[in-house]
Amino acid sequence: MTSHEAAVDVPEPARSRWRPHVVVAGRIGLAVLLLIAWKVGADAAGPLYAADPVKVFERIVGDTLSGSLLRHIYVTLRLSAIGFAIGCFCGVALPFVLRRLPRLTRAVEPYIMASVGVPKYALVPLFILWFGIDDAPKLWLVGLLVFYPVFIAVFAGIRNVDRRLIAMARVVGASEAAISREVVWNSLLPFFFAALKIALPRAVSAAIIGEFLVGNEGLGYMIEHSRQSFDTTGVFTGVVVATALVLVINAVLERIDRRLNAWRPVERDMQV
């Protein structure tokens, strides 16, 4: 609200100088509005259905001080990170292997693409049946959910590599390994980062959902446990912490992307 008035009040020439501040003020204003809406909504719904932001904040501080929240975050992050690493590695490595085997690629491509359609969450009961109730079924879930977006993007990225650059590299004596590393990998980095923006939040979500179903630690367990004991504040706390986690991961990813793609002539990053 304040932002809009400020923009109107400022005379025309000075406008550009004020615009950044206006945007920041608008964002803060929006955040305050959302918090107020949350508070009003929570009061209206009652403590059984919604937790009020003040209580959530108190809970976050309390659980952080007691160390239990950090433990849950650590467990979830560890699970996400390992599952992500496995899924991401396979998602990158497989297209590079297939690049060298065009006939095999043509044979398996329809099967891989069909397997995209399998609802991965529906496989969790099978994973529990096959891999027990430790980390393994959760890692399978996280790994698969990360694998697909990475695989599809890298696969498309490899097809998109400028063949003339590859021909040039071959003529000047680059080995196939050097071409993969230098030409192909650098060409598909934008595709890879686009995939990571999907895959990283997915890894955290998948870990949390895995923890709903199996185990006795982690943010997912914390949310589900709170729900079972009618601790709505606990549920809200889990959701807020999980969201914050994903936002932090995205911010880090954004920085890495900027650094690696600094050579690019145009600012092609979409603000998400």
């Binding site: 400028d162 003529v171 680059a174 080995s175």
Partner: protein, 265 residues
């Protein structure tokens, strides 16, 4: 006795693969034969669409031939088998393509050093040579610029010296100065002749510009319309060193130009 040719093309033919069910595609190049002596600057001229780039792609061993053979130092290149193709014949044939094909994520210096890095030949000596070449073509001060930060002429220079740094015995050039303005082009032609006079590489230079073919070459081959064959061969009488910008006023230019003009259809 004349030295044996460094590079020899015998009965070379090319037609591209067709989709099934269509009639066979026409021959782009048919029964083409010529030879290049060591240290010779050969220019090849032909109308657009006469298969000049296709010819160079085959000489560079990045495309297969449908018939005939390419011999380098009396050794037959495996050019008819796509799985045995050896691009650049183990770094002995350099190729300056029509597009600069610089790696957009690498700086000018990294791009120019790229062949030395992948060939594991980067040492003080090759590095010094690279610096000399960068200075010789006026790219000093632009080493850390990315390709998109360079002008078209600078990108051409970078792609030219990227091939010169690793010193292949034969260099193929595919209309490297085609897309440039006349001023820059003359400048680059002079640079090329100066660099060539230092090292006397064997150069096969393809162009559609008759004046360029005359200004640069020791000998000029004229290609016919497809299927490409040799329509004419002209030994260039103009003495070196040549004045590239004033080549058209040279007394022997007009006769040579007319003779080639007639054959380029």
């Amino acid at each position: 006795m004349a030295a044996p040719p460094l590079l020899e093309v015998r009965g070379l033919s090319k037609r591209f693969a067709t989709r099934t069910g269509r009639e066979p595609s026409p021959w782009v190049i048919q029964d083409l034969s010529f030879a290049v002596r060591e240290g010779e600057f050969l220019t090849i001229i032909g109308p657009s669409g006469s298969g000049k780039t296709t010819l160079l792609n085959m000489l560079a061993q990045i495309d297969t031939a449908s018939g005939g053979e390419v011999r380098f130092q009396a050794e037959t290149a495996p050019i008819s088998d796509p799985t045995r193709l050896s691009p650049g014949l183990s770094c002995r044939i350099g190729y300056v393509t029509q597009e600069d094909n610089l790696l957009p994520w690498r700086t000018t210096l990294q791009n120019v050093l790229f062949p030395l890095v992948v060939q594991r030949r980067l040492n003080d000596q090759t590095r010094a040579r690279t610096e000399m070449l960068i200075r010789a073509v006026g790219l000093a001060g632009f080493e850390s610029h990315y390709p998109h930060e360079l002008s078209g002429g600078m990108r051409k220079r970078a792609s030219l010296i990227r091939t010169l740094v690793y010193d292949p015995p034969v260099i193929l050039m595919d209309e490297p100065f085609g897309a440039l303005d006349a001023q820059t082009r003359t400048q680059l032609q002079e640079d090329l002749l100066r660099l060539w006079s230092l090292g006397r590489k064997t150069i096969v230079f393809v162009t559609h510009d008759i004046a360029e073919a005359i200004a640069l070459g020791d000998r000029t081959l004229v290609l016919s319309k497809p299927p490409a064959r040799i329509a004419g061969e002209h030994t260039n009488p103009i003495a070196r060193p040549r004045d590239v910008s004033g080549i058209m006023t040279h007394p022997q230019f007009a006769a040579l130009y007319r003779a080639i003009r007639v054959e380029v259809q």
